[in-house]
Symmetry: C2
Subunit: 185 residues, 2 copies
DNA sequence: ACCTGAACACCGTTCAAGT
DNA sequence: ACCTGAACACCGTTCAAGT
């Protein structure tokens, strides 16, 4: 659903920017050069800033679908047993966080910074996770001292740490297993 | 024990650089501007590069004592019960890693990069941790699938994640508690 | 409305010229 | 031996000038 308020050429530029950002961020991570992105999109650097006033705004547009899918997943999982639901969701979150270099940092930073263009999206994730966590804590399945932010931070930490391994997926699985058993109360 | 091979003025510059780096890195983290450090030391930028050809070399000099102390600590802990020894050492490692913003990243990066000036120091840490880990694994106290690198990465991940919290120490304690129980096999 | 790119203030890094 | 800082190639970000 293209924004009809945008002139055709503006909409086209926006799409070129997103496609270029997708590529460059996949290659170089979340702190990729914005100039590189503008160059790849064959657009002036000012045009990038016009459409995405901050790096976080660009990231937000880039990650939107992924975040929405994760939130929807959280809702689905309310139908599952409390402990299993939390762990399953966190596993999905960790896997998603590990797909883009620098994403765990972007998420935790945005969670802290209410002014970040990424804040609302990340806060939505926290709320989604909070529902699952609270339910499991009420059932006595997960240690009571953990906050929803702790849970996101821990998961981001595992994804972050796995990024330095030769075999990232295998390490993430091992680290996740540690967390999984450690969460139980 | 000042290096006698260095001229008096060179030795003085080196010390000024280290003192300045200590301050700036404490304030801004491991990716602080090298120019800032040279300015604070009242020394030309070329002089910084002459004494410390890479950022990692500077970091290595800065962290030397801390790393040595941690390695010594690992040796002491060989006198303690296996599981308790590992956990105690990891707690010290996590606390040390959390003192400087960006240090967990520097450590895991150096572990991967054999050419890093920080590699030897970090690899020494890994070896020190490996002895403790192996002993605990042989005793069946810690899950057998974890490697020494996994252990350092996990600990670095917790320190990294805690850095985004309002109350960093409290969060590190909570996350560490999760890891601590999760490590047991 | 929107696009462009020069301009500014910063980097990291190198290296010719100095003492 | 060692020090210096100009020079280079990059950034992120802004904004006057264009269409």
């Amino acid at each position: 659903m293209p924004d009809p308020a945008l002139r055709a050429n503006a909409r086209r530029n926006r799409e070129r920017l997103l496609a270029a950002a997708e590529e460059v961020v996949t290659e170089r991570g979340t702190s990729a050069s914005l100039r590189d992105i503008a160059r790849r999109a064959e657009v002036g650097i000012g045009t990038l800033y016009r459409h995405f006033p901050t790096r976080e705004a660009l990231l937000e547009a880039l990650m939107q679908e992924r975040f929405e899918r994760l939130q929807a997943r959280a809702d689905e999982l309310l139908g599952e047993p409390p402990y299993r639901a939390v762990v399953t969701w966190l596993r999905d979150l960790a896997a998603a966080s590990a797909t883009v270099h620098g994403l765990p940092d972007a998420v935790l930073s945005a969670l802290r910074d209410r002014d970040s263009a990424l804040h609302a999206a990340c806060d939505g994730m926290r709320t989604a996770g909070a529902r699952l966590l609270e339910r499991a804590q009420s059932a006595g399945a997960i240690r009571a001292d953990l906050t929803p932010s702790d849970l996101l931070a821990l998961t981001a930490g595992l994804a972050w740490a796995s990024d330095y391994a030769e075999d990232k997926e295998a390490r993430l699985e091992r680290l996740f297993a540690v967390m999984e058993t450690g969460l139980a109360s």
